[in-house]
Amino acid sequence: MNIEQNLREDQLRDFLNPGEIEKAPDGFTGRMMNRLSVEPVPVLNRAKGRNYSLVPAISAVVTLALVVIAIIFDTGKSQSADILWSRVIKAFQPGLPAINFTLPELTVSNIIVYIMSLSILLLVFDLVLSGYFGRRKSTH
């Protein structure tokens, strides 16, 4: 604070009039309110009403849909899609350790296990973060 005091008690104060305020023109508030009357009201209620976040919900649905499609194709129900999907999986397979995972009457390939695990982790993380920041925003 000594430095601040020194800064204030300096020669420049002889020239300036500290505290001298140039006031806004007359009628400014009225003009400003007129201008704001065409703006959408920044209401917080809409955000308060939502207890969920669209982003993680959409990403979870899309991810699960892709995984389901991958599982269906992987069981050989569609031959041409299966070939294409196999190529995609093979492109990612180098470097990944082999995981054998079998559900009753359903064989799940290696890459799908990774996708499912990652998706679930991302979903949980996303929801936790959204909940945390959503609570912070709504506190007054």
């Binding site: 430095i3 601040e4 800064l7 204030r8 300096d10 020669q11 420049l12 104060r13 020239f15 300036l16 009039n17 500290p18 505290g19 001298e20 305020i21 140039e22 006031k23 806004a24 023109p25 400014f28 508030t29 003009r31 400003m32 309110m33 201008r35 704001l36 009357s37 703006e39 009201v41 920044p42 209401v43 917080l44 209620n45 955000a47 506190t139 007054h140």
Partner: protein
């Protein structure tokens, strides 16, 4: 205005009571105008700047964190809007008798004949302010005219306190050199 009043008024607006924003405007318009005017040097431009600033504040009111003062948050908007406005013009600020004086020929005799000492001082200050950058003018205004603390200025300008001290010291020195130089001799326009 204290933090509780800030929170109350902001919550009123966010709850749909737009008229509460009128109170916010009334409470902050003069200081905001003063800052914008000191930075840009023109009353017309300053009014445009604070109109834009209030509009930005209104639109982003939901983003205002209730743990800081509304004034600090809003003056940050005014400061940044002023800097952007001045830079966007990309011209040397036209100096006029109303703000930063034009390159007029001053002679001691004529100067003191035509204006009072108060007016002389005001024109001197405006002339010196015109020689500073927009950021330097902002610092001078925030520190000397609005009498903010260094911590508040740091929050408004989003610079750390050490930088603020250095820049303020330089701005003050530069301005003092101009003012004392003019005061001691004739000023001849180029």
């Amino acid at each position: 205005m204290n933090k509780n009043e800030d929170i109350f008024l902001v919550n009123q607006v966010l709850g749909g009571n737009v008229n509460a924003f009128r109170t916010i405007i009334d409470l902050h318009k003069d200081k905001a105008f003063n800052l914008a005017y000191r930075m840009c040097g023109s009353r017309e431009d300053a009014e445009e700047i604070i109109q834009d600033s209030f509009l930005k504040a209104y639109r982003s009111l939901r983003e205002f964190r209730m743990d800081s003062l509304f004034a600090t948050w809003f003056y940050r908007i005014v400061y940044n809007t002023s800097v952007s406005f001045i830079r966007a013009k990309k011209e040397i600020i036209i100096l006029s008798g109303d703000c930063f004086p034009d390159s007029q020929k001053y002679s001691d005799t004529n100067y003191f004949e035509s204006v009072s000492e108060e007016e002389h001082k005001r024109k001197l200050v405006n002339y010196a302010l015109g020689k500073l950058s927009e950021e330097e003018r902002g610092l001078i205004s925030l520190f000397y005219y609005d009498e903010h603390t260094l911590a508040e200025i740091s929050e408004i300008t989003c610079e750390n306190i050490s930088n603020i001290k250095v820049k303020l010291h330089r701005s003050r020195k530069k301005m003092l050199e101009i003012l004392t130089g003019i005061n001691n001799r004739k000023v001849i326009a180029k």
